[in-house]
């Protein structure tokens, strides 16, 4: 029996304005019917190109070499008519970002029914009633009520849209599904639900699955085998459990280390960074000064579309002391970003107050400006957090200029860049953000904050948009800044592994309230609140404690 899908020496080259770029080279993969394979890699590793090449969905500038055998038939040499017949009927795709992959102006029922109609056997178009019944059946399979067929994509949540994509992929009963980062934009709990669903459906129907992801733990949870891609090539391909426990290739190791197992003592206060961390400073001196930053019963509400008020932050009290990193965890919509903005004075609270060093933070004027020297913001996506027209020097000097620290601007900027580990600083002065890597950009943002010599950083998902290998480096930098300069930080994240990596304390936020606050060990190893428990349970890699208990 021939394999379901076999890639033989696949190569893909893009022709761009600047010449030819090889995205994929010499890739060989083999998938038996009903088999599941994960393809892991960072952005630019070529994993999505491999996925898209199977149905020849690459842009016109792409040149494909090698063979792509789908059920023994080479896709690269198919005529257009045959290719159209194979698409979706033999193999379908669950696209990354269902938000954009669904047509915004057509009902989801029509979009699910469309491939059934297109691939109906010659002369026997399905009746409307048959289509309706089939769509209802498909929606039920993905746990959506059949009535949702009449909804438009924007009326669904992110998780629901991804379910619709899965239902659509199943529509023509294909033998192969290619899932390209199917859960990337989703919250942990929803991600777990979608992964469970996909895994179950694939197993029930005996469908082959290729799943693409940057997150090894996601792949390990669904796929029997994992192939790791790096720079257009497959560097390691082994059964999931083996690869997770003992990655061979340095790049696989980096990917595995980037998503630490919560509860694993090896990764506690040890983000995956190449340079060694300074030892924990002696913190025995009893600190009876007031906490550095304190929120007292903060309440922030917004008007939603219907005009009724909803509490984004519903009475939160939180303290961040000197010399500690506090992780604020919660899923999107929990109000954690609003809380951070309120702490920085970017959002006015309805009630409650923010105290810095025991004094209330003024809501405007020179007082607020002075406060902003003390507490600095680090944003999620460094690419958009830097003005693309400003050089590194200008970006870092912006803060000192605003606060009139002109005396030794060059010295301040140099010092800040070096503190953010961009050395020698002069080399970076004239660079524009697009000439830097993602990690370097985030360092520039951090340097811009450090230039004002703040007492504290508020970092909103500081590594969420960075590649796995850079993630550990930036977290290492935050930990190092705390240990060397005593810089406190409030790190907002949805990633419990991050908290386990660098935080001293964790605050769990759910629907605008803090449901649990305590040391990392207390909260993550011995959760008390139901929500914290469900967050931990949804981790695709599980937690070390649970893993031990299950054995």
């Amino acid at each position: 029996m021939s394999p379901l899908l076999e890639l033989k020496n696949l190569g893909v080259t893009y022709t761009t304005g600047g010449g030819k770029v090889t995205a994929v080279r010499g890739v060989g993969l083999r998938l038996e019917p009903g088999d599941t394979l994960g393809v892991a890699g960072e952005s630019g590793s070529g994993k999505s190109t491999v996925a898209m090449s199977v149905l020849r969905l690459l842009p016109r500038s792409a040149e494909v070499s090698g063979e792509i055998l789908l059920d023994g038939e080479d896709v690269t040499t198919m005529k257009w008519g045959r290719l159209r017949a194979v698409r979706w009927a033999a193999a379908s795709v669950v696209f990354q970002g269902a938000m954009h992959a669904l047509n915004p102006v057509r009902k989801i029922g029509e979009q699910i029914a469309e491939p059934i109609r297109v691939h109906a056997p010659e002369g026997k178009p399905p009746s409307d009633a048959q289509l309706k019944a089939r769509v209802a059946e498909l929606l039920e399979q993905v746990d959506l009520p059949a009535a949702r067929a009449g909804a438009y994509p924007h009326e669904l949540s992110g998780g629901q849209k991804q379910r619709v994509m899965i239902a659509m992929a199943l529509a023509c009963e294909p033998r192969l599904i290619i899932a390209d980062e199917p859960t990337t934009a989703l919250d942990v709990i929803v991600q777990a639900q979608v992964l469970d669903l996909l895994g179950a459906l694939v197993a029930d129907h005996g469908i082959g699955l290729i799943m693409i992801s940057h997150d090894l733990s996601v792949l390990a949870a669904t796929c029997a085998r994992i192939a790791v891609m790096y720079d257009g090539e497959i560097v390691e391909q082994r059964p999931s459990a083996e690869l997770m426990n003992d990655p061979h290739h340095p790049h696989s190791q980096a990917l595995a280390a980037a998503f630490p197992t919560v509860g694993d003592p090896v990764s506690r206060f040890a983000p995956a960074t190449a340079s060694p961390l300074p030892p924990e400073p002696d913190r025995s001196a009893a600190d009876d000064r007031p906490p550095l930053l304190a929120a007292e019963n903060l309440r922030v509400s917004f008007r939603d579309r219907t005009g009724s008020r909803i509490d984004a932050v519903a009475g939160v009290s939180l303290e961040v002391r000197r010399d500690e990193i506090v992780a604020l965890v919660g899923q999107s919509g929990s109000g954690k970003t609003t809380l951070a903005r309120t702490l920085l004075g970017l959002q006015k609270p309805d009630s409650g107050r923010v105290l810095y060093e025991g004094a209330a933070v003024p809501r405007g004027g020179a007082g607020l400006r002075a406060y902003r020297r003390q507490v600095q913001l680090v944003l999620q996506d460094p690419t958009s957090a830097l003005n693309p027209r400003h050089s590194v020097y200008e970006a870092v000097a912006e803060g000192p200029r605003i606060h009139g620290l002109g005396a030794d601007e060059l010295g301040i900027v140099t010092k800040a860049l070096e503190a953010a580990e961009l050395r020698p600083a002069e080399k970076y002065f004239g660079r524009l953000p697009h000439e830097l890597s993602g990690g370097q950009r985030q360092r520039v943002v951090i340097a811009g904050a450090l230039a004002l010599e703040p007492g504290m950083l508020v970092a909103d998902e500081p590594v969420a948009s960075l590649d796995a290998s850079v993630r550990g480096e930036i977290l290492g930098l935050l930990l190092r800044l705390r240990r060397e300069l005593g810089l406190a930080a409030l790190v907002i994240t949805h990633d419990l592994g991050l908290a386990w990596n660098i935080a001293d304390r964790v605050a769990v936020m759910y629907r605008g309230e803090l449901v649990e606050v305590g040391t990392v060990e207390e909260v993550l190893l011995n959760p008390r609140h139901e929500y914290t428990k469900s967050l931990l349970a949804a981790l695709p890699g599980g937690t070390a404690v649970r893993t031990v208990a299950e054995r």
Partner: protein, 302 residues
């Protein structure tokens, strides 16, 4: 990219600006239409400026007209003469001065108004924004040419009236565009970062918003100049322009009302009209080329 060691901050900023200008020019130069348009405009502007030096203005005076009325193109008058016996070539040549003056001045006036209102409406939210937005929307839907006609009809006739009438009626599209672009920029996280660094309104507008909208405003201005030239000609044609000056619009108005058209004197009709089309097309080509280079949204892929 090579950066000299220990460069002064000012030098770095200038080097960056020079480099980015160079890049814009390089990209612009790949756009054939834009280049042709730019070349034509440069030529037209230089010729219009030099008109008093290389030709004799007295030929425009009806009383000093040298030719026969409505003579077709011949050796003396390459483009023929009008009803008063004046050289069409000379009139078309001099008409460029008025058209360009009105086009540029009205465009600058309207873009200025539009930019101020657009940035203000987007930057300061709240009631300021609401009021300005309503204001803009109101003027946006009004037929701007009709409004310009009304203004020119009630104000004393003259070139500045025409400029004013076009300028204060053509701004709403610019305001809309600038507002949208400002909102896009204001939504970027680097604005949030700048606020968190302590930057005030002046800092945000001066350092981030204005430099961000400037390219789009520049491209838009080019397109507005073209529209203003057409509006100027239309006003003149309807008889509410500036009858004292020889402009392309007044030439066409004369041609229709003094019987040149009914007598089939095509040489009275073609030169000023083709001049308008060419110059407006040149502005449009340059504007579109600038837009593709400067507006990241129009670039493929990003």
């Amino acid at each position: 990219m090579t950066t000299p060691e220990k460069a002064s901050p000012r030098a770095i900023a200038w080097q960056r600006r020079r480099a980015s200008m160079g890049k814009v020019w390089q990209e612009f130069a790949t756009n054939k239409g834009g280049l042709i348009g730019l070349g034509f405009l440069a030529l037209a502007v230089v010729l219009a400026l030099l008109a008093p030096l290389i030709s004799d203005e007295s030929g425009l005076d009806v009383t000093k007209a040298a030719g026969q009325p409505l003579s077709p193109p011949n050796g003396d008058f390459l483009l023929g003469t009008d009803i008063d016996g004046r050289s069409i070539l000379l009139m078309t040549f001099w008409g460029a001065r008025i058209s360009l003056l009105v086009g540029f001045s009205a465009a600058i006036l309207s873009v200025l108004i539009g930019t101020v209102i657009g940035v203000t409406a987007a930057h300061f939210g709240g009631w300021v924004s609401t009021v300005l937005l309503r204001f803009t929307d109101f003027f946006l839907v009004l037929p701007s040419l009709v409004l310009a006609i009304a203004l020119s009809a009630v104000l004393p006739q003259g070139v500045w009236t025409v400029i004013f009438a076009i300028g204060v009626t053509a701004w709403p599209t610019t305001a809309r565009l600038v507002r949208a672009q400002t909102l896009t920029i204001e939504g970027r996280p680097y604005i949030e970062r700048s606020k968190a660094l302590g930057g005030g309104h002046l800092h945000l507008i001066g350092k981030h918003v204005l430099p961000g909208v400037a390219p789009l405003v520049l491209a838009n201005t080019t397109l507005v100049v073209g529209n203003s030239i057409i509006a100027d000609a239309t006003l003149a044609f309807l008889g509410v322009g500036n009858p004292a000056a020889v402009s392309w619009g007044t030439m066409l108005e004369t041609a229709l009302n003094n019987g040149a058209v009914t007598r089939g004197a095509w040489w009275n009709l073609l030169p000023p009209g083709i001049a308008i089309v060419l110059i407006v097309l040149a502005f449009t080509l340059v504007g579109r080329a600038l837009e593709t280079v400067l507006n990241p949204r129009l670039k493929g892929g990003h």
